[in-house]
Symmetry: C2
Subunit: 212 residues, 2 copies
């Protein structure tokens, strides 16, 4: 950590965790805009300047919160995999798994609304790229979808399947986003679940038909 004052490493780690906790709880309570140095230092019980001994700036802290949210989302999606029914064909099983993943994504967004929203709302200043470690955290999520997709589109080369996984994710994200934010009018949560099942099943069936 060139350029940052050194602290004994376990004290640094402890302060880092406390700051991530503090930022998370600010986001949960008042949204991304409330992550400011003063309330952070108060909640983490440290001096204002101490923040910058472990994070280069507040954007770096928010990215650490995003990484934690992504890790939790990943664990949540892993739990969505249930036992395959013995009777299901490989493509039927794949369709079913895609639906489970999409529903697990909905449930996570619903349960952790503010942190989930912050993942997408946070923008780095123009010209500052997303760091590789955060890109890698995102990529692991898409790899999950990609793996499930494989039996539906075995003819697609890997890179194209990777793009398709992102597209499916984006489509489901749109359903969850406009459904939960009630931008298109109020929709009952059960209706939203049913619609996700319907749309994801249709996409999976339609993709399967394009196999040659």
């Amino acid at each position: 950590m060139i350029g940052l004052p050194t602290l004994p490493s376990n004290r640094r780690l402890d302060l880092k965790e406390r700051l991530i906790d503090a930022a998370s709880s600010l986001i949960e309570a008042h949204g991304l805009g409330s992550v400011k140095a003063r309330p952070l230092a108060e909640r983490a019980g440290c001096a204002l300047g101490a923040i910058y001994t472990v994070f280069s700036d507040l954007d770096a802290l928010i990215m650490a919160v995003s990484a934690r949210t992504l890790t939790r989302l990943e664990a949540h999606l892993d739990k969505s995999e249930r036992e395959d029914e013995a009777s299901a064909s490989p493509t039927e099983a794949a369709r079913q798994k895609l639906v489970w993943l999409a529903l697990a994504y909905l449930d996570f967004a619903f349960a952790h609304r503010a942190s989930w929203r912050a993942l997408f709302e946070h923008r780095l200043p123009e010209g500052r790229p997303v760091p590789d470690w955060l890109v890698a955290d995102q990529a692991r999520l898409f790899e999950k979808v990609e793996k499930v997709l494989q039996p539906l589109v075995p003819q697609l080369p890997g890179p194209e399947r990777a793009i398709l996984a992102r597209s499916l994710f984006s489509a489901v994200h749109g359903l969850v986003l406009l459904g939960l934010e009630e931008k298109l009018g109020v929709m009952a949560f059960t209706t939203l679940r049913d619609e996700i099942v319907r749309i994801v099943s249709a996409m999976a069936r339609g993709l399967e038909e394009t196999r040659t």
Copy 2:
């Protein structure tokens, strides 16, 4: 307009248009957060207080901008309808029309990025409902999708088809949103178009298969 000071009606209309223009150009230049009374009055060439002779508050003005954006989007989507190829079956023609609508939505969002984003970013204060006239403007867009969907899902009762139209819109919105905002990494515009074609075609095919 009970409770608002009266102005001769054509002067009122003229001021209203100028304020909508001023708000639009502020949104295009600096985003939704820049719509404040002082710069509005400056751009519209009116006194600060004059704003409130035609709009009850700035939220009402922003909703007038949204209504205009929706009208433009509607006109743009209408242009997406091309001549049916003579050979296409009704369901093939419906699939093709859904793809055209989705691509037209992408093109509109790309060309009018800031106004399009403002449609979704603007939130009314807690407890204030979206006015009926704006809900009706949105509803007309979904009716377009609903009409195109009809041959693919003739078995669905009208209200369910209306919900499905919103779901399809949401899925396409997700693709456009995460694609244009480059939240999942940079994607070439042509790749984004191809992906929209792929996903919308797959959804349409999959939905068609559920016909009984």
